[in-house]
Symmetry: C2
Subunit: 446 residues, 2 copies
């Protein structure tokens, strides 16, 4: 097979503008591209998917509350009216910072500016068996996979005669007590309490466990004491078994082994315990922090390279108040993208750059129907009003009027009927066929 990396990506429009390549269309990359619409840059946005994914609501896809399409946005559509932005579905593989050339699986691009905003993937902390058997939730496909897996486990459990034999199919164990783990645990417990008993009248759901495991001393480690305690109370009221100060040692697809020797039987281990930045070749060892984040200066630029910027989860910028870097959350990504867009435009105009300053807008997590916790900089509150706040903030953050409408309709329906209706086990006809065909098309490129 010819080395596709030796050819430039074809058919890009030719503009007499500085060429800015953005790798990754998550919160940071998409924000930056949007800020640079109709600005004097030729923006080339790359992502391995043709859509942006709204991560904060993955857990609702996993628990049959929302469709993947409700929280996914076709990137091409977002830039229909922005002639200076071109999207390409491509995966970035390697950087040659000397030549100012970025390589992808579709060919290379020579850039004037490069912005890497490639986010992070699931961190299994070195355990290959956990990586093999656990279910991560860092993409909308993975969230859908969790939904399908759980429904498929129940459809199988109902055909198993002895209760002992179907226990592991019914239990759900979630690892990681951050917002994702808390939200997943709450939503799973609500399915167990309200939906599954109606769907599977033959099964007894007293025996279905929803377990949330956290290695640290408290859930929602980065939030306030009040929020942590309320979240714990809410989860317990929903019947979630919460285990803090507990580490998972191994998992073989059937049994979770905890440090200390205890075991939990489950076919479904949902892994929300940590993230690690996505990497590409072309950086030296000392450019990375031990946790895999790339050091950047206060303008998001990589020291030792020229015109290479890193944003969001995969970057590590030190600020007085954040000696270990900013939190790896959407807010950081969005604010860094906004700062960089401003600086790029300022530099074009011969103005001085502004260093990044993180503005903490607070954080929140929802546990279940009418149950959420909100920490704002000067106000903390919990319960029904926090839940309404959570709904409103997420609805507003979602792109597009139609998606807002669809989600509002889904949420209202689920609230009134307590019956998320997406319990469909739609088995994908495998894209394998396309994958098998791919070499054919790659051949036609050379």
């Amino acid at each position: 097979m010819p080395d596709i990396n030796l050819k430039p990506i074809p058919n890009l429009p030719k503009y007499d503008l500085p060429k800015l390549v953005i790798a990754g269309a998550g919160f940071a990359g998409l924000k930056l591209a949007r800020e640079l619409r109709n600005q004097p840059f030729q923006v080339i946005l790359l992502d391995k998917n043709n859509f942006h994914q709204f991560q904060p609501l993955f857990y609702q896809v996993a628990t049959a509350g929302l469709e993947p399409s409700a929280i996914s946005f076709p990137l091409r559509k977002i830039f229909h009216d922005s002639k200076n932005v071109t999207f390409r579905m491509a995966e970035v593989t390697r950087l040659d910072a000397e030549k100012k050339r970025i390589f992808t699986d579709m060919g290379y691009i020579d850039y004037n500016y490069l912005v890497l905003a490639m986010g992070a993937d699931t961190n299994y902390f070195g355990s290959e068996t956990i990586e093999h058997f656990a279910s991560p939730m860092k993409t909308v496909s993975e969230a859908l996979f969790i939904r399908n897996k759980i429904i498929s486990n129940y459809e199988r459990a109902v055909n198993i005669e002895r209760m002992e034999d179907r226990k592991s199919l019914m239990n759900v164990v979630i690892v990681g007590g951050g917002p994702t783990g808390v939200e997943l645990a709450g939503a799973m417990a609500e399915l167990r309490n309200n939906v599954f008993p109606k769907d599977y009248p033959e099964l007894s759901f007293k025996n279905m466990k929803v377990v949330l495991i956290e290695a640290g001393p408290a859930l929602l480690g980065t939030m306030s004491k009040e929020s942590q305690e309320h979240a714990l109370t809410y989860l317990k009221s929903l019947g979630v078994e919460v285990m803090v100060d507990t580490k998972v040692k191994d998992y073989n697809g059937k049994v979770v082994s905890l440090e200390g020797g205890a075991v939990l039987e489950t076919d479904t281990l949902l892994w929300a315990a940590g993230i690690k930045p996505n990497k590409i070749a072309g950086f030296t060892e000392e450019m990375y922090a031990p946790n895999g984040r790339i050091f950047v200066d206060e303008f998001s630029e990589v020291p030792g390279m020229k015109d290479v910027f890193v944003l969001g989860d995969s970057s590590l910028m030190k600020e007085d108040r954040f000696p270990k870097g900013h939190p790896q959350v959407a807010q950081t990504a969005l604010q860094q993208a906004e700062n960089l867009a401003g600086n790029l435009i300022r530099v074009q105009k011969g103005k001085p750059k502004k260093p990044f300053r993180y503005k903490d807008l607070g954080s929140m997590a929802t546990v279940g129907r009418k149950l959420a916790v909100v920490d704002l900089p000067f106000l903390k509150f919990q319960g029904f009003f926090a839940w309404l706040t959570w709904l409103l903030v997420h609805l507003m953050a979602i792109l597009g009027v139609k998606n807002k409408l669809i989600i509002f309709l889904d949420w209202s329906w689920n609230y009134l009927r307590f019956d998320p209706s997406l319990r469909l086990l739609i088995k994908p006809r495998l894209m394998k066929v396309i994958e098998q065909n791919e070499p054919k098309h790659e051949k036609s490129i050379d």
Copy 2:
């Protein structure tokens, strides 16, 4: 592996009622189960999926107008309040009519009445290469696969330098001039005319062909002359190349060979040319018509068996006006199910059965925005009003208030904005993992 067929399906509720097993939850099976809710039968509904699929709108899933969930309905939810109906996700494999026992991949069931309503699958008329390379559309997964395939072809085409090399990725060829083929061709042409040029400004869409091939002398063979002619005019106005009296000889994944020697280059051959009934073991040769339909009497019962009924696409009932059997459409399935439900109840009450009489309610097909053709028994009309009629009839036929709302919202949006927003290439994380696990669980049954 133990022969799972040697065990009965476990955990079924025990009622002192005649046990009626329905295999297949398409139009016929679902209708029958719904008619028998809270009637003196223990109904066990089986389907290989856990949802009912609304086939008439598959083409909108394929062309990014609707989500699979909008036209799919979780079967368990439909029967939440019907204690006498139990659903099991299972695939029927074999019938032992002597023992009154039906075998599935989850075990067997001993029935008092058996109703087979297993529909039909795509008919490739014996061509293995066409079966291998063409894309059928008989399930919602297959429809979604078509959508993904087309989007993925375009994402690849844009990275191919020479126009000659990307032609086959851009062309779409549809075989079969029935309503499905006509609707697919119209919707594909609308994507080509209105959506793709905005999504892929780098590509020229003058070169994208949408071709519709029909072996017979006219499109919509079962409809009126007026409708046939209008449909043809509408398709041509949208830029579809229509070829009638044309037979496809072969397809190798790249090139369609037509009888007579002409060829068409395409990566995307959509096959809507014919259906063949789904079969299970346990019937003798003479019980089948040459086209694979099972002969039934005017009460949908199989002659030579006791208490075995076949409904819908896979049955062949002769009526004076229909010496070759009724048309294989939703109306036949629904009306036969209603007739059988009535007869089963009448027999329980000691009343005489009523023979089936097909009532033709007319037929319709939509070609595109504001373009449809409608044949009612005493009235034929075409154009905008036909299109509104088509929308209304399909919206009413869809199950569930929420699905109606979602579809209404989607259709209104697409009508106003001309921009179906579901162009998401969400690659499934393969269910393979689950399939690999399956033997494990089957073991736990024995």
